[in-house]
């Protein structure tokens, strides 16, 4: 049956982990003190399906904060280069709509670059289990406005946590295979399906809209918002800490650094996360900075998310997750800026 919905006994999460571990490195939200993070899990690791949201989005697994591009070793006077070994593909369990959208944006960005398929390959080879949200994770969330709340792509399997019971459906053939491998799952009862539909119908009440415009209007709205005053209003309290870049599910920028052994004979070239809000990001050799002020830097970040990315890659570069606002030490709000720029009509 197409999109058949199964009842998924909570205690069988471990079976799902075990099944996925055969092919994948399995990653899921895990409680860490007062917060939650995406951690590698095995059978028996407590997975926090009731997590509000993680500080870092799952992109850390697809484009890690620090990643070896290649190792180098000097032999007979010349350096030889060795790319990193192949790695196991990733499986993610419990990805919210905002982060599913973030994975889509990442893919649309990376597939535009024809010369390097590392991240695209990781995304394409990954197995993703989506998870529905019933209330905003953060006060700063605006996922419904950005179309992320109802997004189920690119999940292979999708979960609804109805409290007393979990419901599961396959979205892609790979998901159906995993359900078949798990075996013994019963179809959800008529009552459970009615309960699910009722929860979904009522869900939008928990996610009030913040915008009075369609996000597809953002590129045009921003085009007209180049002048400095709006950006100065927020940039004057920016600390240039770059946290907004670090926590963003659609940020992709990195720096390239060499790390050598003490004798210089060997080492590695690595890519490490960088961000447009961090001082020096646009500074060239000789010292000229092409985007020196915080006003320019903030405008650039918002333009990239709301204008450049949709124009170039076809998707707005903001998922509405609210992380950049939540973790900003001075509460600079992309939601407010979009709202102000988009206007009441």
């Amino acid at each position: 049956m197409e999109h058949e919905i199964y009842r998924f006994p909570r205690e069988r999460l471990d079976d799902l982990v075990e099944r996925l571990e055969r092919e994948y490195r399995v990653v899921a939200p895990v409680r860490k003190g007062d917060v939650h993070g995406w951690e590698e899990v095995r059978r028996g690791t407590p997975i926090a399906l009731d997590y509000p949201t993680t500080m870092l989005p799952p992109r850390q697994w697809f484009a890690p904060p620090r990643e070896v591009l290649f190792r180098f070793q000097r032999t007979a006077g010349r350096y030889r280069f060795e790319p990193p070994p192949p790695e196991r593909p990733l499986a993610l369990i419990g990805v919210h709509g905002c982060d599913l959208t973030g994975l889509r944006v990442m893919r649309s960005f990376h597939e535009s670059s024809c010369r390097d398929r590392v991240v695209t390959d990781r995304l394409d080879q990954s197995f993703v289990v989506g998870l529905a949200c019933w209330e905003p994770c953060l006060a700063e969330t605006f996922c419904r406005d950005m179309g992320s709340l109802d997004n189920e792509t690119p999940a292979d399997l999708y979960l609804w946590d109805l409290g007393e019971v979990l419901l599961l459906k396959a979205i892609k053939p790979r998901g159906r295979e995993v359900i078949a491998d798990l075996g013994g799952l019963e179809a959800a009862t008529a009552d459970e399906q009615v309960a699910l539909r009722r929860r979904l119908r009522g869900r939008h009440d928990a996610f009030p809209l913040h915008f009075k415009f369609q996000p597809s209007k953002l590129p045009v709205a921003l085009e007209a918002a180049e002048s400095d005053i709006l950006w100065e209003a927020s940039a004057e309290r920016c600390l240039s800490c770059g946290r907004c870049n670090i926590v963003c599910p659609t940020c992709t920028c990195f720096d390239v650094q060499d790390v050598a052994s003490l004798d210089g004979e060997s080492g590695e070239r690595v890519r490490v996360w960088h961000g447009c809000q961090i001082p020096g990001f646009a500074r060239v050799a000789g010292g000229h900075d092409f985007r020196p002020t915080r006003t320019q830097q903030l405008r650039y970040r918002i333009f990239r998310k709301g204008k450049y990315m949709p124009e170039r890659y076809g998707m707005v570069g903001c998922t509405g997750c609210g992380r950049c606002h939540k973790h900003c030490p001075t509460h600079i709000s992309i939601r407010d800026i979009f709202r102000q720029v988009g206007g009441p009509a």
Binding site: F81, D116, V118, F254, V259, F281, V284, F290
Partner: protein, 277 residues
Amino acid sequence: MAQASMIPEACTILEAHRETEKEVHFVLEAPRERPFQPEPGQFVMVSVPGIGEAPISLAGLPGEGAPEGAIELLIRKAGRLTTIVTRMVAGDTLYVRGPYGRRVDWDQFEGSNVMLIAGGLGLAPLRPFVRRALLRRDRFRHIDILVGARSPEDLLFRDDLAAWKARRDDVRTLVTVDAAADGWGGRIGVITTLFDHVHPDAEDAVAFICGPPVMYRHAIRKLLAMGFYENRVWLTLERRMKCGIGLCGNCQMNGHYLCQQGPLFSYREVRHMKEAV
């Protein structure tokens, strides 16, 4: 894995000529493992493993000034990597990948008057344009080369400048410096003062500009005042480039990744971009 795309190739330095106190002109082997057929305006990523990597404009293309199978680079001592590289000599090894950047169709320029405007280090990326125009001299009309430097001591490619000046029948080469001690017999003044001495037929002219950031606005204004078409004023722009393959984001200008869509742009392509010039 696809990350091989950022793995460089060992290239032996064939010649190293000190151009100024800060700049060294290298002739080195071109990469061989993959097809290497650069166009004027493109660049390579140059590195020393363990030290770092930097984007360097091609100052000479294989078989066009540089020997077949070789490239020329002009490297200014600016940071840790270039301090080490500018101490290197023939026989040393640099690690190179590329070429990167936009490839512009040259046929569109043929039949035109050509103006090249180079400020300081900007002569290095423009040198392949000059070389190609001179190699195909019969396909172009007037060629004007305007060169500016801070001082006579900062002038780059002096042998080239002398050779171009010697071809005064078919190339006009004008050189100016911002300031000079006594004994400099040439022009003194910023590069835009040279525009008073050239009068190309702007209807059929193309210009290429490369220089320090402050130069572009003034040079473009002069050219537009002379009647140049906006899409025949070409700029080679500089930005921070760390990957060369359109990923790392450091070189972005508005929505453009300069390492792929640039660094060569026509003024018409970037005139609406607040971050361009």
